[in-house]
């Protein structure tokens, strides 16, 4: 049986604690009395995931079995989560491959000819062919892609979107036309964190800017405490309103959600998910070899090594059927594998940011993504109260290089140069710049024809951290490029010790300190 998460109180015998640091890591000494929150160990994986998938399709929650919903002559669309899930990308076969193959087996048996598969990219970059092949598997890719039946969602295709209607709160619900006009839309999800899945799958994944702007905005983010907690998330509420409208007026949806255990890093990086005092001689040797090797090679080479990591994630559950019934079961599974009870908030929260976030798979973690990962994702990995108190300090460990992927993140570079030089205030940024970037024809062209994130995407990344920016008294980045860190509006520090010293100016001389030992991912249940 896997061990639950653990909150360690640091004493004089505690060994130095691991901090991720982009394409590297370091061991840091924390002050005596600090707390370290360790994630739960990976829960047991399904012994026979393919059988579990088949059972889920034949015994769905809140709806008829999938075979009963398939018939000859129907229009069937299968949409699936894009490259942003899971993290790191998983070793094959990917959950999506297992599920899609099972769905197609049933569709073939039912004589369904009109089948198309869509990567639900929303405003993310298009997936490349090798990425699509990895996600859906070679068999599916070879059967559909050459015929143009497996493709990326295009939210800016003037003929490719269909208006479903407006919610009671005036939110425009518009999704991919092929999906909207299907007799059945099957959505295949991988649920990595509590925010994923549910109505968000279709209402966000197959939507475009006119719909997304209703919930991807500063107000929603500041009213999501946190956006990982469905009951206190304005983002979730908006998606749910849209999803319920889709359920009433949109295409019939058959949702299939899968969860993963927390087995994140393969050998030789598996020491990253062990508690330091339990490191074996092999773990220590792997750490020393990796840390010293990575220091000596160019950042580009290190990035290539890390981007090749495929996680040993295994499917821990699969459920299918009606969206809300399915998502309730999924969320329970995610909580089971990630929730760690934590007593009370802290003055200073430290975290080591890894090399990857949802938006730099096979790409570069630029400074805006560093902000999004730290203040957006990791800060929001809580239920109840934020881990750090109002006015507290967040210390992040990351090299924060002044680097941008020229193909994937063109609007990010302009956001960094044109917007952040003027202001870092999310409210002002939204009011003054968003519309221009969102409707810029060049960014739209690059989103549709190249592999670029949409022009508005860096704004969303900034809004993702809006709750943290409003809540925190200061943000310090250790080991980052000082110019890039200052551009983000944060303070650079050379060492953790310096950062703790700087933090004491804000939170006093004897602050409580908590370190978030992630990834592997955890969600703090703060009482």
């Amino acid at each position: 049986m896997s061990r639950p998460g653990y909150v360690l109180e640091v004493d004089r015998s505690t060994p130095p604690v691991l901090f991720h640091h982009g394409e590297g890591f370091s061991l840091e000494r924390l002050p005596v009395g600090s707390r370290v929150i360790y994630p739960p160990e990976p829960v047991k994986a399904l012994a026979d995931p393919d059988a579990a998938v088949r059972r889920a399709l034949l015994e769905p929650l809140g709806t008829d079995p999938l075979p009963a919903r398939l018939r000859p002559g129907m229009r069937l669309t299968i949409a699936f989560d894009d490259i942003s899930l899971p993290l790191p990308p998983m070793k094959g076969p990917d959950n999506r491959q297992r599920v899609i193959e099972a769905v197609l087996d049933l569709a073939a048996a039912a004589g369904v000819d009109d089948v198309e598969l869509i990567a639900a990219t929303a405003l993310h970059r298009r997936m490349t062919d090798p990425e699509l092949k990895h996600a859906v598997g070679k068999r599916v890719f070879d059967a559909f892609a050459p015929h143009g039946l497996l493709y990326n969602h295009d939210a800016e295709d003037p003929d490719g979107m269909e208006l479903i209607g407006h919610t009671d709160e005036g939110e425009r619900v518009e999704i991919n036309k092929r999906a909207a006009t299907s007799d059945l839309l099957v959505y295949v999800n991988i649920n990595l964190v509590a925010m994923d899945g549910g109505h968000k799958s279709v209402a966000t994944g197959l939507a475009g800017y006119p719909s997304l702007k209703h919930h991807h905005n500063v107000r929603t983010m500041q009213h999501s405490r946190s956006f990982m907690d469905q009951h206190r998330s304005a983002l979730h509420s908006s998606n749910w309103r849209m999803g319920r409208l889709l359920a009433q007026q949109g295409p019939p949806i058959f949702q299939i959600e899968t969860t993963l255990n927390n087995d994140t890093f393969p050998k030789p990086f598996d020491f990253l998910q062990r508690r330091e005092w339990e490191w074996s001689a092999r773990d220590r040797a792997a750490y020393l070899a990796a840390a010293s090797g990575l220091e000596r090679i160019p950042r580009k080479a290190a990035r290539q090594i890390f981007q090749k990591i495929l996680s040993p994630h295994a499917m821990s559950s699969v459920q299918a059927g009606e969206v809300e019934a399915v998502h309730a079961a999924t969320t329970e599974q995610v909580y089971r594998s990630q929730l760690v009870p934590v007593e009370g908030q802290t003055d200073v929260l430290t975290m080591g940011l890894p090399y990857i976030c949802p938006y730099n798979v096979n790409s570069i973690m630029n400074p805006i993504l560093v902000m999004c990962l730290g203040l957006g994702y990791f800060f929001n990995l809580y239920r109840g109260k934020p881990l750090v108190r109002q006015g507290g300090v967040l210390i992040m460990h990351h090299p924060t290089p002044w680097e941008f992927h020229p193909v994937h993140h063109p609007s990010y570079l302009d956001f960094f140069e044109q917007v952040l030089t003027e202001t870092t205030d999310p409210v002002e940024i939204e009011a003054k710049f968003e519309e221009g970037f969102a409707t810029d024809p060049w960014y739209i062209h690059l989103y549709r024809k190249s592999y670029a994130y949409h022009g508005v995407h860096p704004f969303y990344m900034w809004y993702w951290g809006a709750h943290a920016l409003e809540h925190l008294g200061g943000v310090i980045i250790v080991g980052g490029d000082p110019r890039a860190v200052r551009r983000l509006g944060f303070k650079p520090a050379s060492t953790l010790r310096d950062a703790l010293e700087m933090a004491s100016d804000v939170v006093g001389r004897d602050p409580s300190i908590t370190h978030l030992h992630a990834p592997p991912l955890l969600m703090a249940d703060v009482s």
């Binding site: 653990y6 360690l8 004493d11 004089r12 015998s13 505690t14 061991l27 005596v32 005092w277």
Partner: protein
Amino acid sequence: MKLVPRKGFPLRAPTWPGTVPRPPAPSRTGVDFDTAWARRPAARLARAALVDLAIRPAVHAIASPAVDGRERLAALEPPVIFVANHHSHVDTGLLLSLLPERFRRKTVVAAAADYFFDRRAKGTLHALAFGAVPVERTKVNRRSAEMTLGLLADGWNLVIFPEGGRSPDGWAQEFRGGAAYLAVRSGRPVVPVYLDGTRHVWPKGQRLPRPHKVGVTFGTPISADPGEDARRLAARIERAVAALADERASDWWTARRRAAEGATPSITGPEAAAWRRSWALKSR
């Protein structure tokens, strides 16, 4: 702010935080003692040399064994389970050194985990010298059972003393079911062996051995009948060893007749007060 000292980690092993309860250390003695190394070629070679050059000459010098019934093993294919009564520390070395070579070179001895493997050095010595493997003597331990069954499946012969320990008073103790259980589970034959007179060489409570003639009788191999359970087989094995004792005390024909009549004298002695058991022993 007081920082935690580095203390050489990760070059050295990490220290254990005082705030984290320590899990019980995994046991490396008793039934958890790992003896796999003692069955590798180098250890087997060393043991063969030790048995042939040291143990056998020493045992023969002290005990001068007279051996009967070895011809009963001629048609037997290993692996088999040798089951003997147990009076003395000399029993293991004596029996090992008298086994035909095709059995001796690949034989392990089931030894009490709590006695022979309670310390690392002691366990290492017994594993190397006798091919001893730790077994729980007070109950059937799943780990011991699976290990010995695995060894039988790998072609290793097994010597086992089913009394669970040396005789405290010269009479045999009741045979426990472990050997019979292994025979039933593995389907391998059991060879009953009677060791006579070893209680005079090195009995329980005596510090050093003293010379005395002994006798060793190998019996006809016994296999579990279809559907026979371990308890019945254990009783049959005990009767077979008792018949061998009778054979040595009288003669083969007399022993066979008494066995056929169910009149084989018990090897566990009379159920009586200690002095009467000692008295009866002297008359054997």
